[in-house]
């Protein structure tokens, strides 16, 4: 577990700093290559998004100079950069990677985009050979953890923008938005955004009414819709299932009696009014009518705030999942650490056994097959008994933080060769072998 991570994000650094560290997609492969070749680094990858730039590595001794890499690579002075940096090692680095992939460290907690961005960064680093065994294991696990968080908590389930809340509400009223008509009253930016969202979810057509008819035509053309003269508003409005209104009128332009007319002409089919004007365009009495649903800007903002609060609550549950996953990952990593030592020990003692049998065979003369088997069984039994305690100690130490010390002691006691760098896959296959030998 010699993971090391350094980076900046939206919480630690202002945009000006993040901008200077941002790496364009085209330069990311080269940057990963440089990172993997940097002294003390075995593997490395870089996540660069608009909200974060992070360098994640697996190092030879756990103390690589990642700050030095950033200073050199981005030609930034330490005093400009260092106050904004955060750094994590080992278990904390694993936890941070899990949190980032699960979108718990995002500006909008639970947003789905970050997982895709991390996957892209991983694919880029893997393609240039900067990610191999150790980071491979870390990120495969991180993606699985992110999936678990998404399925077991509702951290990403609710909408947190006004436009998406409006779409969600419309779906709660109409089910599907296929074939529904949208009426925009007042050609403002917000209403245009909401309309764009609704159209993207399948709404059929759009009507636009504005006091300045030319602006209505302009907006209608953008959506391939139809401009309506403002004087015809009340005659045409019932054609729409969803009305987005944002005029600058000083008083309500939709009153209860208009609602009654619309419902009567629509045979009581429901209508959804999204009123984002201040002062409001829709009189509150409209909402008293059966079949008319009115959400003003405060209602929408309240829904957004409620969803954000819900996400925070779910995030607490997600943090618990991550804590348990970090523990599991650490335990597994330590188990993998002890596997090469166990294998070496088994090989070492087997070599001694074979050498001793060969040495005494000459003195014993020819042995019958039964005697050969008896000698074989006797020596194997002795070796297994001798190995039992050190292997059990190593396996139990793998679950504790003292694993490295125990590994060193066993290696010194039995004079085992120095530990070689093994890939996760190799270690995994040897782990299975150890299991069968036992």
């Amino acid at each position: 577990m010699r993971y090391q991570l350094i980076g900046v994000n939206h919480k630690s650094a202002p945009l000006e700093v993040r901008e200077r560290l941002a790496i364009p997609e085209s330069k990311l492969p080269d940057c990963c290559r440089d990172l993997a070749a940097y002294p003390g680094i075995e593997e490395g990858m870089i996540i660069s998004t608009c909200n974060r730039v992070e360098v994640i590595t697996h190092t030879t001794n756990g103390t690589a100079d990642l700050r030095g890499f950033l200073h050199d690579h981005f030609r930034l002075k330490a005093e400009d950069l260092d106050p904004h940096l955060y750094e994590f090692r080992e278990k904390d680095a694993v936890r941070h990677v899990f949190r980032v992939a699960s979108s718990l460290d995002s500006m909008v907690v639970g947003e789905a985009q970050i997982l895709g961005q991390v996957k892209e960064a991983y694919a880029t680093a893997r393609a240039v050979g900067a990610v191999r065994g150790q980071l491979d294991q870390l990120f495969s696990r991180a993606f699985a953890v992110a999936k678990r968080v998404r399925t077991e908590t509702a951290v990403g389930s609710s909408s947190v923008s006004i436009a998406s809340v409006a779409v969600e509400l419309a779906k709660k009223i109409f089910g599907t938005l296929q074939g529904k008509n949208v009426f925009i009253v007042g050609a403002g930016k917000m209403s245009e955004l909401a309309a764009r969202h609704l159209m993207a979810h399948g709404c059929a057509s759009i009507f636009v009414a504005n006091r300045t008819y030319e602006r209505a035509i302009g907006l209608a053309q953008r959506f391939n819709g139809q401009a309506i003269k403002f004087e015809d508003l009340y005659n045409s409005c019932d054609r729409a299932d969803i009305v987005i209104t944002s005029t600058g009128a000083p008083h309500a332009i939709f009153r209860r009696e208009h609602g009654e007319q619309f419902l009567s002409r629509r045979k009581n089919r429901p209508m959804f009014f999204i009123d984002i004007a201040v002062p409001r365009d829709v009189a509150p009495q409209m909402a008293e009518l059966d079949g008319i649903f009115v959400y003003d800007i405060d209602d929408l903002q309240q829904a957004v705030a409620g969803h954000i609060a819900d996400r925070r609550k779910e995030a607490e549950q997600a943090e618990a999942i991550i804590a348990s996953e970090v523990e599991k990952f650490e335990a597994r990593a330590h188990t993998l650490d002890v596997v090469p030592t166990i294998v070496s020990l088994q090989d070492h003692l087997e070599t001694i056994r074979q050498a001793e049998i060969d040495r005494v065979r000459g003195r014993m003369g020819s042995l019958t097959p039964e005697q050969e088997m008896a000698v074989e069984a006797l020596t194997r039994g002795i070796i297994n008994k001798v190995m039992h305690t050190p292997i059990t100690t190593l396996k139990s130490a793998a679950k504790e933080s003292e694993a490295t010390t125990v590994i060193d002691v066993v290696r010194r006691l039995f004079n085992l060769p120095a530990k070689t760098k093994e890939s996760g896959v190799e270690a995994d296959s040897k782990k299975d072998e150890v299991g069968t030998r036992q």
Binding site: A154, S157, S158, S159, V165, E168, L169, K171, K172, I173, F174, G175, T176, R266, K267, N268, R269, P270, A287, D290, G291, F293, Y295, D299, Q302, A303, G306, H307, D310
Partner: protein, 269 residues
């Protein structure tokens, strides 16, 4: 033996009943799946029970609680059809308790006997029973949908964030479930009454409109027709539709209770 199968079915429906209470408080995909599977298994037992009953020949002689059993089964069938189309178990909130209640009554008590004098018009009688009960089942579902519509409408108007994670489907989907059930149930109810009249005429030579059962059945049909008409003509939804559906269901219950008071269409102990 038929009663034993029915009691197995009742046990399965009990899971649905628990779901109905649970779903009012919070949403759970797992629980709704469990309830659905339990209900499906219950329907299998229920079907076996009805088939055994039919083969034993008792179906015509002891129709009191067998009728309730049949109505429960048909209501469940409607529920499953709706699930197949709309993939929602939320009508279960109304249907499951209703079905449980009917099955419970049918599974625990002695069968009161229903008018043995119609034995000679077996075919018409079977048609009458099945048509009327299909109409009842559709009416129950439509009533349930109108209640769910009201609940969902209230939630959306209350503007609470929880309104968006409610267990209920979209308002328009609930409306479609209610309207289609209503449209489907009406011809069954009408034909059921017609076949009933045929049976009555052939048994007694006339339809006695002063008999409480006949009178109330016709009243129920008229209210049902008004409901279909207002929905079709003016698109009544929400409170008004729920009110009308309640009146129709009450009329249907009263018409059912009239079996205890009618001279020609009555239960006898």
């Amino acid at each position: 033996m038929s009663l034993l199968w029915l009691r197995f079915a009742l046990t399965c429906y009990f899971v649905g009943l628990i779901y109905a209470f649970f779903a009012l408080r919070r949403t759970s995909d797992l629980f709704s799946r469990i309830a659905l599977h339990a209900a499906s298994l219950g329907m299998v037992f229920h079907f076996v029970s009805l088939v055994e009953l039919f083969l034993s020949g008792q179906v015509l002689w002891a129709l009191g609680h067998n009728g309730e059993s049949l109505l429960a089964f048909l209501s469940m069938t409607f529920f499953m059809i709706i699930y197949a189309i709309y993939k929602t178990t939320s009508p279960g909130v109304v249907v499951f308790p209703f079905v449980f209640f009917l099955t419970f009554v049918a599974a625990v008590d002695e069968q009161p006997v229903l008018l043995t004098s119609f034995v000679q018009h077996k075919g018409w009688l079977i048609a009458h029973i099945i048509l009327i009960f299909t109409g009842y089942a559709a009416l129950v579902l439509s009533f349930g949908a109108s209640l769910l519509y009201l609940v969902q409408e209230r939630r959306l108007k209350a503007k609470k964030p929880s309104s968006m994670i409610s267990f209920l489907p979209a308002l328009e989907t609930i409306d479609q479930i209610g309207y289609r059930s209503l449209l489907l149930g009406f011809p069954f109810m009408t034909l059921g009454l017609i076949t009933g009249s045929v049976v009555a005429i052939s048994a007694y030579g006339r339809v006695d409109f002063t008999d409480p059962k006949i009178l109330l059945s016709i009243l129920m049909w008229v209210v049902y027709m008004i409901m279909v008409f207002t929905r079709w003509n003016s698109g009544w939804r929400g409170r008004r539709a729920a009110l009308l559906a309640t009146v129709t269901v009450v009329a249907a219950i009263v018409a059912w209770v009239a079996n205890y008071f009618s001279a020609i269409h009555r239960f006898a102990s």
